[in-house]
């Protein structure tokens, strides 16, 4: 930006040095801005791990630091998925934990004793600085203008689309994965440009790191082959492409197979078949290319082409056959649902139930990308001007990633880097044009044909874009320059304001700790989650099993350190459905289930008092749906809706709803808070029945300050062998109806 202006001030030699210096300083400032804009949550709350998944990663990192790498690799965790356990070492992406472990040990080696928690909290902001750097490198490969790279780095540093997953405390796989994604793409572009085995091998190395860090590596696995394939189709096959692709594929596949969770997937699953297929294709093309260079006969060339096409078709058919016969695993549901968008809702409700797997409405795009959303198409258009090999990559990436981001909110993350690169290209083009101090000569007759070199250049590029066929003249008046530059400055300023506002308002809440405003404007912290988890930690035996919906499994494991039945890993649908059934059935049905799973405590989240909408009653239908998928006869979604098809919790709720364990646990004793008959649910805006639900097989153990978390203890079997219903009614003083039993002896006496 500023670099372009300083052109005339310096002599060439000093100016090169000064520019390099300036660039380093600007990049360092951008990195600092990227890190500091992610610290809102630490400043407002405290240095705390956010959300759900990060709690597992944190727990795993602690395990790694305490027990060493090898025992982490073979870790079998018996404190989750009770009673099944989980082979944790073989079912996670270890990249994140190993990265923080390495940082931890490096700092210890430098005699800096930093708590592992602080490393985990600050890992994502730290890596976002590196992401900005990687974006600078990637953009600088695309265009000659140096300002584009700096602008892209600045965009990437502060765009909310990326901040959403990388604020301090958001210790998730994406924290390092986006840096690896962008850097791998940079290395790939470098490899394709230079045709160098060295860069290809580096691509493979970072690809391997990416595989170890995030399941989204499949995006790279398919994007690079697609790029190579499109280049081949465009007739742009070259030895450079061959060298870079084969070295990446061979080494990268080997590297990815080192991760236990990935294992032999690269040669056995459909997601990876495109890279294998293109690998085969590029060998064929290389062979044909070689033979063509040796034998110039025209017929022979035709024959060769036919052979290539034939082999390609046969190989493709073979692939389909292998998939059908089951040797190659078909697309897994998660990836398949990206193409067939209705698939997940019917077949895998557990995937459809996650909010970040929902499709994206347009406000979300604007919210996350702001002005870049309309600069982005302009940048993509700009790539068509010269359409070099690397610019083809931008176009493919742009189209694919916007499709994915449209289908799933979560994949906005993969779209963000390319949006930053493309819009920085467009924006810097404007800035470079209008910030030029030189004014062309006002000679309207001559300017068209005066510059012979430019006309010749235009003639050499016959199939360029229509808008760029005429030679560049430049901007005549200072008024136009001032208008455009001034407007650009305003837009940039607005962009920064937007990003800061979004980050501060939407993405900086830890979700473990909630903040609200009191009437006088001061901040009030709602800390029910930690209150309840620490209650569990201090008041229950070390191996008390906690049953809750899977959303809270990782947090219970991390904060309360108690075994759970299900957690956010969701590897076993039946187990989750079991919990769903226990929650959605009558007490008499749920009690045996809980006994069989040795459940000691049940935890529910209830937002009715505070108006906290993310509570269990709002998630309840998903529990019912998932349970119905396994037991369609015993749990029926229809029974939770009133005859008019409404989901209600008040007086008119269906009997199934009122008798379900979840409903009872949520509203138990709730009406005692209010005057008689006035109990109000503030989330669903409903007045509750005057008579609250009664519990017999479980008893209330703990309710947090704002009633967000309620914990119940599962009663032991009755001492007299009664069932719990009759025991409760006996304690209440109700008479037992025993008409059937009295008949027995009388009959006996008559005989």
């Amino acid at each position: 930006m500023a670099v372009a202006e300083s052109e005339s001030v310096f002599t060439p030699a000093t100016s090169r040095n000064t520019r390099g210096m300036l660039r380093v300083i600007i990049l360092a400032l951008i990195a600092a801005a990227a890190v500091s804009s992610r610290l809102f949550s630490v400043i407002r709350f405290e240095s705390i791990i956010h959300e759900f998944d990060p709690w597992f990663n944190f727990r795993a990192t602690k395990y790694l630091v305490q027990n060493g790498f090898y025992s982490f690799w073979d870790w079998f965790d018996d404190r989750t998925w009770h009673p099944l356990g989980r082979v944790t070492g073989g079912t996670l992406y270890p990249g994140l934990m190993v990265t923080s472990g390495v940082i931890y040990h490096a700092l210890r080696f430098l005699t800096l004793p930093v708590d592992i928690r602080n490393i985990c909290v600050l890992l994502a902001p730290g890596f976002s600085g590196l992401t900005a750097l990687a974006t600078y490198l990637l953009t600088s490969e695309m265009v000659t203008s140096p300002s584009a790279g700096l602008l892209a780095a600045a965009f990437m540093g502060i765009t909310p689309g990326y901040i959403s997953r990388s604020v301090a405390g958001s210790y998730d796989n994406e924290a390092i994965a986006i840096f690896l994604l962008v850097f791998t793409f940079f290395l790939w572009i470098k490899a394709v440009k230079n045709g160098s085995m060295f860069w290809g091998a580096l691509t493979a190395l970072f690809y391997g790191y990416m595989v170890s860090a995030w399941g989204g590596y499949v995006f790279i696995t398919n994007l690079l082959p697609l790029h190579a394939f499109v280049l081949i189709c465009m007739g742009r096959y070259s030895a450079r492409l061959y060298v870079s692709y084969t070295s990446w594929y061979a080494l990268g596949t080997l590297a990815s197979m080192q991760i236990p969770f990935v294992g032999f997937l690269p040669i056995r699953s459909s997601e990876h078949m495109s890279s294998l297929g293109v690998f085969g294709l590029i060998q064929l093309v290389a062979f044909v290319d070689y033979v063509r260079a040796q034998l110039p006969s025209k017929q022979f060339q035709t024959l060769l082409r036919a052979i290539v096409l034939f082999v390609f078709v046969v190989a493709f058919g073979g692939l389909v056959l292998l998939t059908v016969s089951g040797v190659i695993a078909p697309w897994t549901g998660r990836f398949y649902s990206l193409w067939d968008t209705g698939y997940a809702k019917i077949h895998i409700p557990i995937i459809a139930s996650v909010s970040e797997h929902q499709p994206t409405a347009w406000p979300a795009f604007f919210f996350d990308l702001s002005m870049m959303i309309w600069l982005f198409p302009a940048g993509v258009y700009m790539c068509f001007k010269r359409l070099t090999d690397e610019q083809v990559f931008i176009v493919i990436y742009a189209v694919l990633a916007s499709y994915f981001a449209g289908v799933m909110v979560r994949l906005m993350l993969t779209l963000t880097p390319i949006v930053c690169v493309a819009s920085a290209m467009a924006f810097s083009q404007i800035l470079d044009t209008y910030l030029d101090t030189k004014t062309p000569k006002v000679d309207s007759k001559e300017t068209g044909s005066s510059d012979a070199a430019k006309v010749a250049a235009a003639a050499v590029l016959p199939d360029g874009l229509r808008s760029t066929r005429k030679p560049v003249v430049g901007i005549y008046s200072y008024a136009s320059k001032l208008t455009v530059v001034g407007a650009s400055a305003v837009y940039l300023l607005l962009f920064v304001l937007h990003c800061t506002w979004v980050t501060s308002n939407a993405y900086s809440s830890p979700s473990v700790v909630l903040a609200s405003r009191l009437p006088d404007g001061s901040q009030h912290i709602i800390d029910d989650y930690r209150e309840a988890y620490y209650w569990l930690r201090q008041n229950t035996p070390d191996n008390a099993k906690i049953m809750s919906w899977w959303d809270y499994g990782y947090q219970i494991g991390g904060m309360a350190d108690r075994p759970t039945l299900v957690d956010n890993n969701t590897w076993n649908n039946t187990h989750i459905a079991t919990v769903g059934k226990a929650m959605s059935s009558r007490e008499e049905v749920s009690y045996p289930i809980m006994r069989q799973h040795e459940v000691d405590y049940v935890l529910v989240v209830f937002g009715g008092l505070l108006g906290y909408s993310g509570d269990d009653i709002n998630k309840f239908l998903w529990m019912v749906r998932i349970a119905e998928g396994i037991w369609p006869e015993e749990v029926k979604e229809r029974n939770f809706f009133t005859p008019r098809g409404e989901y209600r919790v008040d007086e008119e709720a269906t009997p199934t709803m009122k008798n379900s364990l979840m409903y009872k646990m949520s509203y138990y004793n709730y009406n005692s808070l209010f005057p008689a008959g006035q109990a109000q649910d503030r989330v669903r805006g409903a007045r509750l029945p005057a008579q609250g639900p009664e519990l017999s097989t479980i008893e209330e153990a703990f309710t947090s300050e704002n009633w967000i978390i309620r914990i119940y203890k599962v009663k032991d079997l009755d001492n007299f062998g009664r069932d719990h219903q009759s025991a409760t009614s006996f304690e209440k003083g109700h008479k037992k109806k025993r008409t059937a039993k009295r008949k027995g002896p009388r009959v006996l006496r008559v005989d």
Binding site: M371, G406, V472, L494
Partner: protein, 329 residues
């Protein structure tokens, strides 16, 4: 020729026998009817006869309204699936081991049945367990299947019916007939396309290699996807909705909600903004005439400012807490 007459005459009693056969068992009676079509077509009278209480066979009846007057799309969509299910069940169940019959009752033929069952909606499947015999249940009430989850395939209904039957009873699988017409038409189509490509390739290749076309395709795709087209596609959002006062409301309330038209408007806004950017960046510096260039700069800057301001105002409407704005709107 006399012997032929005798022969015919001697055969007469057999024809009488054959005609008399239906009077026997009710199950065989209805099963014979369903052999050709798979399901028995019922009316009020035969429905009550079909489901009368002492019954040693199970019954699955589809209550539907096929007539176009009722506008039941679901009924018409489901009918072939139901017939297919009935047909493959009857075919796979040669010896009638399952003792299950399929029936269809249209509203036109069975108005009083619909009234007596107090049915408001169609289609509905009722399943009656046998009341006598080995698989009998005490509960005489039929089990009801509502089409709450939209159209169902024959396989899904097959799974539902199989759940009602006891485990040891055979359940013939649904066998879809091979669609020869489709195979032939697809093959012809593929061959036709290949031929067309081979013939037209001299004309098509320049089009395929045209950068402007590819640029247009990519930009349209990007604009479609970033303006939430996939959301409309997946959620099946309405195109527009009324605002309650007789007018049209173009923008849906709420942050994660949108109308079909709304996303198109937004795509158009993005398109105009991008085009203005492209013009400023590439077209304007190539204008040789100084005054024309000056005019173009002001024009496109103005368009950019107005459109961006309008976009911000629309976004403010969607997201209540948003505070930023630009002059005109």
């Amino acid at each position: 020729m006399r012997w032929l007459q005798i022969l015919t005459a001697s055969l007469l009693p057999f024809t009488a026998l054959a005609a008399k056969k239906p009077s026997g068992d009710r199950f065989n009676d209805f099963r014979a009817k369903s052999l050709s079509t798979g399901t028995v077509k019922l009316d009020d009278v035969s429905y009550s006869k079909f489901t009368k209480a002492p019954r040693d066979y199970a019954v699955a009846v589809l209550l539907t309204a096929m007539d176009t007057r009722f506008g039941c799309v679901l009924c018409r969509e489901f009918q072939p699936e139901w017939d297919l299910l009935g047909k493959s069940w009857v075919k796979g169940d040669k010896n009638a081991d399952t003792r299950l019959l399929f029936g269809t009752l249209d509203f036109i033929d069975g108005k009083s049945t619909f009234q007596s069952l107090m049915l408001q909606t169609a289609p509905i499947i009722l399943y009656f367990h046998p009341t006598i015999g080995p698989n009998a249940r005490v509960d005489t009430q039929p089990i009801r299947f509502d089409f709450t989850n939209g159209p169902q395939s024959a396989e899904q209904i097959h799974a539902w019916i199989s759940r009602q039957l006891p485990a040891d009873v055979p359940k013939p699988a649904v066998s879809r007939p091979i669609n020869y017409v489709k195979i032939v038409s697809v093959t012809t189509g593929v061959l036709g396309v290949i031929t067309f490509l081979a013939v037209a390739s001299p004309y098509l290749v320049p089009v395929l290699q045209n950068r402007n076309i590819w640029a247009a395709i990519s930009l349209i795709a990007v604009l479609l996807f970033t303006s939430g087209h996939m959301f409309n596609h997946i959620r099946k959002t309405p195109y527009v909705a009324g605002d309650g006062k007789g007018g049209i409301s173009y923008f849906a309330g709420g942050f994660s909600n949108q109308f079909g038209l709304e996303s198109q408007i937004v795509a158009a806004i993005y398109g105009v903004l991008s085009f203005a950017t492209i013009s400023l960046a590439f077209k304007v510096p190539r204008i040789a005439d100084a005054r024309a260039q000056q005019f173009a700069v002001f024009l496109w800057s103005g368009v950019l400012l107005c459109m961006y301001s309008f976009l911000l105002s629309v976004f403010r409407q969607k997201n209540g807490g948003y505070t930023f704005w630009l002059p005109p709107f």
